[in-house]
Subunit: 398 residues, 2 copies
């Protein structure tokens, strides 16, 4: 099912990454993505009511539908920092804009790291000349590394598609190892493409892609203050413009979705302390909303997550989670399979738990719940809960 990543940097995008010692020394933590020409842009932001300063800034910027650059730092989320946080974010955008010959409003900003501490502005501003001067000297991989926090590996994906006999490429990087890593806040994703596409079409393609990927993963159920997905489309591939509803739009959306799905899988695989990637499918629910609610409730149940960590085919915990998820359901109709072994039929045991427990030793495991009550379904990706997760999050700041 999954296509291999085809990574080519889209035309006209260049990168820079420097060490600004924001939180730790000896690592790149300030990066810049620049498009040679003005790009059409779209974005999706956290639904958390507590929004970090950079999120507030980008939400204003994105109304224009275009931009030239994204500046991003790790180590400090610039969240819960009041008016000062917003001023700091705007100042950085301004400092990046002038040497690029761009308007400050065309520079987007993202931050990830500790919540509640103001940005170390002296250290950042001091490094901005080096950052701007270094455009083109770093790779997309460097950007992926510079945005890591508790991530254990950089996350990159790409696809190539043909439109009007032009090769168009889509590339993306992201970070995130808890849906919200500690007060390390978050999930960030930057997508770039050289496709020429209408703003409205880009919006709708992005929303579709995010809904089927980043909106279907959960590590710990916590939603961050900084979650941001930005896409830049600079049109340098020279294709005929992609409009909503067209065949090329569908192809573009499909490939964009593949990139975001691949990136979202990487996030869950890198879930803090996780040893297993868990795919939860809920079938034949009354509505799609019900299917999603049940899948997320199972995915976020500590008892389910710890059982899977212990390779225990404990379907009773799955059933209990469905029971309190609040969906329409009848215990006596429900079937549950773990790693393709049917452990529960019509609400009662099949006696095959030990067989399923053997299968649970794998690195990627699947749970399928068949509610037999409608025809809607949903899929959610999650990971197990381990002692290591507790350690990472209890000891992060100490």
């Amino acid at each position: 099912m999954q296509r291999r990543s085809e990574l080519t940097v889209p035309r006209g995008f260049s990168f820079s990454a420097v060490e600004a010692n924001i939180r730790k020394t000896g690592r790149k933590d300030l990066a810049l993505v620049v498009s040679e020409t003005e790009a059409v842009m779209s974005g999706v932001f956290t639904t958390n009511k507590v929004k970090a300063a950079p999120v507030k800034v980008d939400m204003m910027r994105i109304r224009s539908g275009n931009g030239r650059a994204i500046v991003v730092n790790s180590g400090n989320a610039n969240a819960c920092t009041g008016e000062r946080g917003t001023r700091d974010a705007l100042d950085i955008c301004g400092m990046i804009a002038s040497p690029l010959g761009a308007n400050a409003k065309q520079v987007y900003i993202c931050s990830t790291g500790v919540i509640g501490t103001p940005l170390p502005m002296e250290r950042i501003t001091q490094k901005i000349p080096e950052l701007v001067g270094g455009i083109g000297k770093s790779s997309l991989h460097d950007v992926a590394e510079a945005i890591m926090t508790t991530d254990t590996f950089p996350k990159i994906a790409g696809r190539i598609l043909d439109i009007d006999k032009r090769k168009i490429s889509i590339a993306g990087v992201c970070k995130g190892a808890g849906m919200i890593a500690p007060h390390m806040a978050t999930m960030l994703c930057f997508l770039m493409t050289d496709a020429l596409i209408e703003r409205k079409a880009l919006d709708s393609a992005l929303r579709h892609a995010v809904d089927d990927s980043f909106n279907k993963i959960t590590v710990d159920g916590d939603r961050s203050t900084n979650d941001t997905v930005l896409v830049m489309a600079n049109g340098m591939a020279g294709n005929r413009i992609i409009c909503e509803g067209s065949r090329t739009f569908r192809t573009f959306t499909l490939r964009l979705s593949e990139v975001t799905e691949e990136l979202s899988r990487l996030i869950v695989k890198d879930g803090e302390g996780a040893t297993k990637l868990i795919e939860i499918v809920v079938k034949n629910a009354k509505s799609r909303g019900d299917a999603e609610k049940a899948a997320f409730t199972i995915a976020d149940s500590l008892l389910v997550k710890t059982a899977l960590y212990g390779s225990d085919a404990n379907w009773g915990r799955i059933m209990a989670a469905i029971g309190y998820s609040g969906i329409v359901f009848q215990e006596e109709r429900c079937d549950i399979s773990i790693c393709n072994v049917k452990v529960c039929r019509k609400g009662i045991t099949t006696g095959r738990e030990i067989e399923a427990a053997g299968m649970l030793k794998a690195r990627e495991v699947g749970i399928v719940v068949d509610l037999h009550i409608g025809n809607a379904s949903a899929k959610v990706l999650s990971c197990d809960l381990t002692e290591e997760y507790v350690r990472i999050n209890a000891e992060y700041r100490t």
Copy 2:
């Protein structure tokens, strides 16, 4: 604030507890609570749609408003066991009723333990003569021990009150170490009193007491299939009957609430793997619903729970949890105190995190969130999340 427990077994109640080897050998796991005379009864049951067989049986029984006995086993929850589960539960009630000269409908049944496995009926029925024959030979403490699963200590509380110059006593036992311990399912609580009280008054006193105690605690956010609270009032104290709305009703309700609050604190203290009891108060919310929602979201956030375990005064995680709780709130009005140290004022740091971190080393810690947006408040009890919780729940069945 808290009164010391005053434990006197109410008149007319006797107990029995035997070893039936339901899941482990060498421990009492089958117990019986009997009232000499018919008692007025009331009950509160799990809101999980997946209800264990004994819960379904008790929910039918409780409509009559009276009963003589409660039989309870640990080691097996008799949940997700289909029609056979219900038949087994009814059979056990029948076997207990006859020697007591009672109707089977006057015998209530509760189970706690593994989900999805039928009760070992031979082992249980074989022990019933010994159980019934032993009435009066065991103590309330024995009952509290017999219902333990992952609990590390038995949980008992009591109060004495004067009504019409009669000493009336209320006593209770409970178990529970995860809101739902593993597939160890659950929270059970049995309350007894010799007060003479109307059924309607008892109902309303119980609901009030449960709402302020068991409904305000959370260990892991999972709700069980077996949660049951039962109260028996046999009237043997000979007081004038307590009717709803009277002064004696208010006294009775207050004391009953003290018993349930004490028991619910014991459950959280014994939270699986917990090292800290956490009291979360949310003040000045727009509505009581909002205050509760925010308090529970903070209480169930893995990032908050792990931070507190690590004695990290990470108020950013608390703010983020409020942000995604869905309540009416403004970040810039919000104050947060940890162990009486104000760490956040009007949404930004006060710089006192290190001071608060020192206070967090205590066994009982408090978080106060002042939303400054209304005048409703709520209090929730919780515990921290530790490697030990993961270990208990990953390895429970292996």
